[in-house]
Amino acid sequence: MASTYTVTKEQILSISGVDPLKCMRCGKCSATCPSYDEMEYHPHQFVAMVEKGEIEKLMDSPSIYKCMSCMACIQRCPRQVEPAKLVEAIRLGVTRQQERNHLKPDDIPALLDPELPQQAIVSAMRKYTK
């Protein structure tokens, strides 16, 4: 589903507090990302694409729902760029729009199993829903 509203590069930079110009393109964020194989665009590409203003492409990519928020890229970036904050800002650019939640409360019952901890549901709702 294409984006309903335009979200600007400036908005993403403001929400995230990230400065993509600090990136020296070493690729360590993507090399250490445990979700690398699941993503269409990888953490280093989020940084480069935001810098180029390619926000819409990122907003339309399922990659924004594959970040585990493990903070490996945040911890290990030698330039403190913190790519996961861009992934989060782009995702918020989508979920803050009307009817654009990735997960709805009605979806939850079918996803439960008897051992699933509450923490998983709360965390996923926080990440996928506004």
Binding site: S14, I15, S16, G17, P34, S35, D37, E38, Y65, K66, M68, S69, C70, M71, A72, I74, Q75, A84, K85, V87, E88, A89, L92, L103, I108, L111, E115, L116, P117, Q118, Q119, A120, I121, V122, S123, A124, R126, K127
Partner: protein
């Protein structure tokens, strides 16, 4: 010694053993964990965007309540710890967050500026009690057991804020394992993610992560791995069958070694 205690939603439900063994072990060590009379879910994940304010309020309410009780706030679940410690750091350092959070909370008569000390249960063991002291109190040493620590993400990162241990070469859980009389096993995947909340939508991703973690632990000789996180526990345990590695909460082994595990 008395501490305020924030158990969190999961420890009241699917992770009751993590909580019960933790409380029993604390009592055996002469530590009084007093559960906050009122608390709300921490939200499970710290918001990575700078402009999210409302979802930090439950953490701040717990932090302010602990301050008013004059006690440090102890957490046990890795996720609660990560959220509450990061929010506390915001309330000490970030004027944007401090102003807005206090604007919300003024209605409840709360003003908070990061006064509370937040301790994870592991820090309580290491820094307040001391592993030497714990070693003295071990009644049933876990002799011969080869145990790997599984830190995951939330205990250590971001290290500048969490400040529990070296984010790439942590020792706190290995030192605890040794104090309990077992042999700590170090393996590379111990601080790599289990797949986290992605498990709600797609079990295949945590399955791959769990396989990598469990195989690596097994290859280094671990028979058991221990965690402080209910979600890591779930993702790892779900895929542990047939790997030869058992997954346990660290408080279970602590209670066992102290001789206070139920039925022993």
């Amino acid at each position: 010694m008395k501490y305020s205690y924030f158990p969190g939603c999961t420890l009241k439900n699917k992770a009751q053993e993590l909580d019960r063994y933790g409380r029993d072990a604390a009592a055996a060590l002469g530590i009084e964990l007093e559960e906050l009379p009122q608390w709300q879910c921490c939200g499970g994940v710290y918001p990575l965007s700078h402009d999210e304010i409302a979802i930090k309020l439950s953490s701040v309410r717990a932090l302010a309540a602990a301050r008013d009780d004059g006690a440090a706030l102890v957490t046990l679940c890795s996720a609660c710890h990560n959220v509450i410690k990061q929010v506390n750091h915001d309330m000490q350092t970030d004027d944007y967050v401090i102003t807005r959070v206090n604007n919300y909370l003024a209605e409840d008569g709360i003003a908070y500026n990061g006064e509370t000390k937040v301790l994870h249960y592991l820090e309580l063991l290491r820094d307040e009690i001391g592993f030497d002291e714990i070693k003295q109190k071990v009644a049933a040493p876990l002799k011969g057991q080869k145990i790997g620590a599984y830190y995951g993400c939330l205990l250590l990162r971001p290290s500048g804020v969490m400040a529990m241990d070296d984010p790439e070469h942590p020792m706190i859980m290995e030192d605890l394992i040794a104090a309990l009389g077992a042999q700590p096993v170090v393996y590379a995947q111990r601080n790599e993610c289990c797949g986290g909340y992605l498990t709600l939508e797609d079990k295949s991703i945590p399955e791959k992560r769990a396989a990598a973690i469990l195989e690596n632990a097994r290859a280094q000789g671990a028979e058991t791995i221990i965690t402080a996180c209910p979600l890591c526990y779930y993702n790892l345990k779900k895929h542990a069958a047939g790997t030869g590695v058992e997954v346990k909460y660290f408080t279970e082994l602590l209670a066992q070694a102290l001789g206070v595990k139920e039925g022993e």
